[in-house]
Subunit: 285 residues, 4 copies
């Protein structure tokens, strides 16, 4: 079931951790569509083993690297071009982590060193990656760069904490650099704003279960899965989308354009059941 959409293309996938990862699915689908790729993740993540297995299966070199370190990034682009035999056509940035969330620091009690880390890991790494690539002239004319993001950058979600700010910064970087890399090399830079997804990262967010359900019921097509997201990324890497740039593309079953669905409202209204009289009218306080 391949359409050969990426035939002859070379790509780098940042952030595949395990088979729940969107990046993992993107790597699989990219190869299926004819691309040759390299994989990269932190040294710790690489040692955890599952990525090694993916690397072997896809015949994709695995390059341990810290995406916040410019030397490491230079090495990634250098090794990737070597391994793949030419300039890079597409890059996926699927990296995000908030030490403040991990340490259970609430948004009104942030540790500012940890905030710097959140921004550095989840957003500035994207700038570093692109700046290094551009300096090395490592991206082929008309190449495509994507980062994964979440609608929390536009609308506040309880518990998403400083990751919301990091995602806003990430999307801004996509626009700012999209302008420059576009005008100079025809390289397009976009973000895909994906439904909440039950990945290892996603499952760490407070109250994620309820949010997944609400999001699913709000979205006319339901939440988009990691597999579906991978398909969308393939499309954005292909030559069929060469004039799309500086965009934040919602891949979310319609969630972002919903205010209230019948399904979500019905579910919400059930919460009042015990407060209703025999005629179904709400008994207020």
């Amino acid at each position: 079931m391949s359409n050969n959409l990426l035939k002859g293309k070379r790509g780098i996938v940042f952030g595949a951790l395990n088979e729940m990862s969107i990046a993992w699915k993107v790597a699989e689908r990219a190869v299926e569509e004819g691309a040759i790729i390299t994989l990269t993740n932190t040294p710790v993540a690489c040692r955890m083993g599952t990525v090694t297995e993916l690397s072997k299966r896809l015949n994709a070199e695995l390059i341990p690297a810290d995406a916040t370190n410019v030397d490491d990034l230079e090495m990634v682009f250098s090794k990737s071009q070597e391994a793949l035999g030419g300039k890079i056509d597409f890059v996926l940035h699927s990296i995000g982590m908030s030490p403040n969330v991990r340490k259970k620091r609430t948004y009104d009690d942030l540790d500012y060193n940890l905030l710097s880390s959140t921004l550095d890991i989840s957003a500035i790494s994207f700038h570093k990656m692109i700046q290094i690539a551009k300096k090395m002239d490592a991206i082929a004319e008309g190449g495509s760069i994507l980062a994964l993001t979440y609608v929390a950058s536009q609308r506040t979600f309880y518990g998403y904490n400083d990751m919301a700010d990091a995602k806003s910064l990430l999307e801004s970087i996509a626009r700012s650099f999209g302008y420059i890399y576009g005008r100079e090399k025809g390289v397009r830079i976009n973000t895909v704003s994906q439904s909440p997804t039950m990945t290892t990262a996603g499952s760490g967010i407070k109250g994620f279960d309820g949010l997944m359900d609400f999001s699913d019921k709000m979205s006319p097509l339901g939440n988009a899965t990691a597999d579906e997201c991978a398909n969308y990324c393939i499309v954005m890497f292909s030559d069929l989308t060469r004039k799309v740039t500086m965009q934040n593309l919602f891949h979310d079953g319609g969630f972002s354009s919903m205010g209230m669905s019948l399904r979500a409202m019905n579910q919400y209204n059930k919460s009042f059941d015990e407060f209703k009289d025999e005629n179904g009218n709400l008994i207020y306080g």
Copy 2:
């Protein structure tokens, strides 16, 4: 508690029906802030009596008129200038009605004649009003024109039906005409996107109670009331906002910028209470 923000200004308020109406509150507050005004509504609405009482109390001429009829609109601007002794400084458009909703036609079974009426009453009336005013040169340099709208123009709300499309059209008219009337006469045109409000109009919408509760719990400041909306309109009519134009201004306690609040999520999660095991875990299926 007046700040004399509209001292010496002349205004027209379209759409005051009864004391629940936002337009009613705006009329009261405008006079309180030093303005002299006229009131207008459909002949039927005018005959219902309460507006007459307001008209007397505020010493504001009541002009029955059909806002979809250009001759009537011309008459409104003509009589208003006469009654108020000069050009008009501010206009409020608080008009909206969907015959499709009234006839319980769902969005996938619209009657197209009724759709035309929805658009004509709720949106095109705004264009007619402005076009007539501009042709008559009835608005003073630096004047301010406002229409009330709802976030359903940007995000879909179950049951809001073709009113969502009408509100989108209304907001577009504000931009399109804001450009022209701005460059030529310094007249600003904006829309205020208000929280769901328990007016006579609002209460006709399907499942409005649940939506009001959800909206209130989602909004960090709670739903904005009609009184608070009137204050915001006064501000937008005053000389302190003379460079704000072509904007859709959310007056909604923060709702429009929310994805999910803790309060709404907690309420939502209660709906699952009966499906939880003794450890609080959701029992699926």
Copy 3:
């Protein structure tokens, strides 16, 4: 150079006029990607001949129909299902016309009967098309419906007149119906917001040359062509984008995310050349 993205799919293309039309390119590309299609346009447009040639070349039945007429639309869906042997997988709406623009009525001097026509032809036809299709259950589960639009729906462009309002209405309809058709049949509805394109329709807009140049210089990737737009439409019809719905998708070389580019600014600044002194400083007044 086909990727078989639409293999086995059935589609209807509204609005192909001549080889400059985006709809024309979409028709060609759809067939190239493995789809079978029907073509439809107004009886007048069909008689003009070039579409007949396309129809023959693509082996696509040409169905003359007025897209504002529900009986005609029913006939289109009926004949198309017959001709193609099953339910429809994708539909392109590429229809827009403003009689006010044609009659040179400016936005502050609109004829309201003509405004009704603008909205009916350019926006409500989209609702009619979808409502009819849904009532006939003519769209296959997971089908994709697209309409072409322009950024003037969000930002005001001099001379675009009541087409801006029509496009806002069109995009709202895509959201409103996207919710309903999505939740019930998994059908997605989106709009593609395309660069200004030198089609027969586009070339009728006042000052279009200058705007094309400005738009091109503002967009880091330059204006998107009709051919490129066709590629993007194909992608949105394919199964790789099944969770994208209720979106307005910019296909514009980045224009929509630009405030000011160096190229456009340099061009703009040239306009002051004759007002500069020997040191290059602007001489005001």
Copy 4:
């Protein structure tokens, strides 16, 4: 010409430098409207003298402080409450600076330590300010916090560099914290997105003259001045806007809703004058 809009209110104004500063105007207008305030800026800025003069004239204590330093911020809120005799009702954040811009580092050659400074000074200082204030419970119920921003956070402007990313982060912080401070204390947090303004900060931006002209010609009401911006800030500090929160409010004469104006297009088209033949047609190539 006071409306007593801030009678009895206590405020802190961050960032007044000289009489061109928006913060300077806000300070003057706030006092005029009945508020008592303190002023704060960096020790260096305070030593430059003009702020001292303002401080005396307005009878407003001047508190030198580094807005990136949490201890300094704590001191500002502590001293301000002491000086003003109670909790703070409003705060203006008018702080922004990019060391990368100063050092002429282009966006594809950023120094990452300098980027950290840009973000820390221009955006994270806003979070620090609010977090400190909330921990000290220094803001009165229903208080209003504003930061100044620019449309470059949504659309890319040539030369605005990493300040665009900083402004995106700033606006995200306003939303994220607006949710929390709103639900807990009814405090509203917004950003005002102002026209390009010929302040000391503004005038440092590359090609600012041309941009000012373009922006002015694009905006139907022309660029908004610093004085007008101050009026808008007063309104947002007053009790008349208590349900507006988490918003980015454009105060820009309509610029943000414009795609192309006649005036800007005419000016742009003049740049081609020397390339036109005797009939006014453009000679390409």
